[in-house]
Symmetry: C2
Subunit: 161 residues, 2 copies
DNA sequence: CATATTCTGGATATCAGATATCCAGGTTAT
DNA sequence: ATAACCTGGATATCTGATATCCAGAATATG
């Protein structure tokens, strides 16, 4: 039941991008150096975020990644789904097919009451993640640490590559 | 973000046990044959359920497993935690330590606002699972399929080993 | 136009955990 | 005494996450 590490990278990277001028693109190298992450692998997550429409990419010198839409329109769920995939955590393997009265023509993923119970929890999880946007987190951080925007921008500037 | 297959096995196995006389113990072989599962591996999950106090085991001939407490006192969360472990799905790797102003003496798992947002969703998930007991599921099933108790007992009887 | 920078996507290697099997040893009904 | 059954450890296999590399395309700059 572990979520991949890439989710944390993606969340923090997207949050950092909220503190930059909207037009400014940041290359993978700088985004990775910010937290000393492996650049080539972080790039895979960034590509997933681009495919999901959360980031947009720019090729060439001065290229890189930036948020594709306002932070208020990006939920934590958007980012998690982009990196982890949209599948539910509970894999209903249709175990009931093998049980007494099991029938091949029934979709137990839908009818199995245990699967429904698990799905109910899964939906509550998604609802909670969808209710929180990057803009929410951003403003919470700025309230607790008012110098974070300045420090983040400064860090990106000083990172050589 | 996939949950292990064993969770589904454990959930259905525990549910099936709610339809047996409370004193009756069922050996691993029968529990596995019920859904054509690998017995030796299912046994590992059963052992985990015993350690969690959900099942109790009986050695020797006529031995096996039975519920250790009333179905109303066993939540879906109890079973999931017993098999999957109690860890949160979101692994906060303390990424902020490497960022600007990161300090080694701060527990970012507690203070990081993104980690808190993920934890909020995790708690909602657990709350939803804790609110559903085996007794709830059992009564829902019996409402939709009144012959399930009889059929389940019959299946256990006919399974040779 | 030439060059250097950067993204894209595929191929590949490595490692951890899930899945699965087996066995030696302990318990207990008959 | 024997056979059925659980326990826990050792081990094998397979899958997915982690990680690296490279060839090709896009583009800013001089």
């Amino acid at each position: 039941m572990k979520m991949s590490q890439g989710v944390e990278w993606a969340l923090h990277t997207c949050l950092n991008l909220t503190w930059l001028a909207t037009g400014q693109a940041v290359p993978t190298g700088k985004l990775a150096a910010f937290y000393e992450l492996p650049a080539a692998y972080l790039n895979k997550q960034l590509q997933a975020l681009v495919r999901a429409g959360i980031l947009s990419s720019v090729s060439g010198p001065k290229g890189g990644f930036r948020l594709a839409r306002p932070a208020a329109d990006i939920s934590l769920l958007d980012i998690v789904v982009a990196v982890e995939g949209a599948d539910e955590a509970f894999p209903c393997a249709q175990i009931l097919r093998e049980g007494p009265g099991g029938r091949a023509d029934v979709d137990y993923q839908q009818t199995c009451l245990l699967a429904q119970g698990m799905r109910r929890a899964d939906l509550a999880w998604r609802r909670e993640l969808a209710a929180q946007t990057l803009a929410d987190i951003k403003s919470q951080v700025e309230k607790q640490h008012p110098d974070t925007p300045r420090r983040t921008r400064a860090r990106f500037t000083e990172l050589s590559r």
